[in-house]
Symmetry: C2
Subunit: 298 residues, 2 copies
């Protein structure tokens, strides 16, 4: 897939996501308006939409029509969006800037930000349970709800954030950082890749290939994120350059150096691609995304 | 039902709830330990368990065995427990004491408290999707998930908390307070009463009766709560006496006076009981709970 084709596809699917988010998010004039404005601010603010892209690409590899994936992609993105709101709070990472704009608690206030996150989470499960366009059987919906709930919970994304907070100022080893990121970002990336398999009742071999793919791109994504944090200007990154290292967070470049970090991201990507060898051209979207994860500039 | 019989039943069902909570909450030695300790602290700390009691009593009225209601009751209680953690945060109500113990962010720290609440929420949906003891069809589970998600969301409980925060220092009228409480506590009490109807595929007449019952006891419960806040000593209440009024919160006694507040709670309870007239003795548990809501001392 050429870079232009990929860019076009990413753009087109980001638009699909935006459209279904507009349908599901409460309108800004519905009570309580300030809460709903904050929810819309956090979700409709753009961002990379990498998790929705994984939902679409994985669904494509499994033969699902994009129309059945819109609401699934949105559910994952809502969990991601809520986690960013809460991670940015003063009691957590205390970030003022996200995607080049004030974070939600800066644009609104802390209480509204907490509540906006709290309200986005159940919306994700309501969508999986009810959205008609998913056209899924009840068993498939339950499988998706269960998977997303586990990915979001204390042994998944939230657990990863808890481990992350405990590591600040520590000198964790590579294994600890891998585990932390495997929970904090890996589990939701894993869910994004596997939810379409639940919906499609995919064969075990396909599920195993997607699991191997997602664990590797999840880690490669995070390593590349750390590299970008060190090497990219604030204006391009949308958040302060070097913020993670400055906050005393363990990063891959700090532990491995920049070159070895880049090399590890490449190796993981090669392995991810290798695990897709059982798929034909229907998985070209997943292949292009894997490359994109470690080539993106922000 | 005699007060002794009721007390026995409430105690027995609270023990059922505690047992299933022990089964579903992550063990304290599972990583990340501090997060899991906070989740357990918030859920296993006792409390009135009124919402679980409603699940059991409503299920009994509909002919469901208690064993099928344990996990449903827990799901509702987890949503309630998470909301208490977040409501107590410094950016929200800033409370130090809850159920006679330090609030979760006081016993642990603010970040851990936010994350513990964040992790309890998806656990509720995972339970409804997967717990075997519910013995529910996939459609019934989806109906419960959807109902609980809407009750917890921005047009339900979280919306009510947002409206509540906006009212501090204001002089809202009775209608505004009713609406606020109808969202903040009413929607989850409504869900607790109606989830068993989803599980039992209850007839429309039963659903309508339970809806009318729950909206009235939900409001009566809140009015009685405000009365207790004004009239009960801190040691009995488990939180500082008069805290709501001191915090500039609109309360029913402040708006209506104590006597008229008590009278209104009684009238609502009478109406709730009247709506149960189509049920026989199988709804005696619901009847006793309605009375208990406005007679409890804390």
């Amino acid at each position: 897939m050429t870079p232009d084709t990929l860019r076009q596809r990413l753009e087109q699917r980001a638009q699909r996501l935006e459209a279904i988010a507009q349908r599901w998010l409460p309108p800004p004039d519905a009570l309580p308006e300030r809460l709903h404005a904050a929810m819309r601010y956090a979700v409709l603010g753009g961002g990379k939409r990498l998790r929705p892209q994984l939902v679409y690409a994985s669904g494509e590899a499994l033969g699902l029509a994009p129309a059945r994936l819109d609401a699934v992609a949105l559910a994952v993105e809502l969990i991601h969006a809520y986690s960013l709101i809460h991670d940015d709070l003063p009691a957590m990472d205390d970030d003022d800037l996200r995607r080049g704009r004030p974070t939600t608690h800066k644009a609104f206030d802390e209480a509204t930000a907490i509540l906006a996150g709290d309200a986005l989470q159940p919306l994700a499960f309501e969508i999986l349970a009810t959205d008609a366009s998913i056209a899924g059987g009840a068993q498939q919906r339950l499988a998706m709800i269960s998977r997303l709930a586990r990915a979001a919970g204390s042994c998944g994304m939230v657990g990863g954030q808890a481990v992350d907070l405990q590591q600040v100022g520590q000198q964790p080893d590579l294994n600890t950082i891998d585990t932390m990121h495997g929970l904090k970002t890996g589990r939701l990336i894993h869910a994004a890749t596997l939810l379409p398999a639940d919906l499609a009742d995919a064969a075990d071999t396909a599920v195993q290939a997607l699991e191997a793919y997602s664990s590797r791109i999840g880690l490669a994504f995070q390593i590349h994120d750390d590299v970008l944090d060190e090497t990219t200007e604030t204006a391009v990154l949308g958040k302060p350059q070097g913020a993670d290292r400055a906050a005393g967070k363990p990063t891959y470049p700090a532990l491995l150096g920049l070159d070895a970090s880049r090399q590890r991201a490449q190796t993981l990507t090669d392995e991810a691609l290798d695990h897709l060898r059982g798929f034909g051209p229907e998985a070209d979207g997943l292949r292009a995304l894997a490359q994109h994860m470690i080539q993106r500039k922000h």
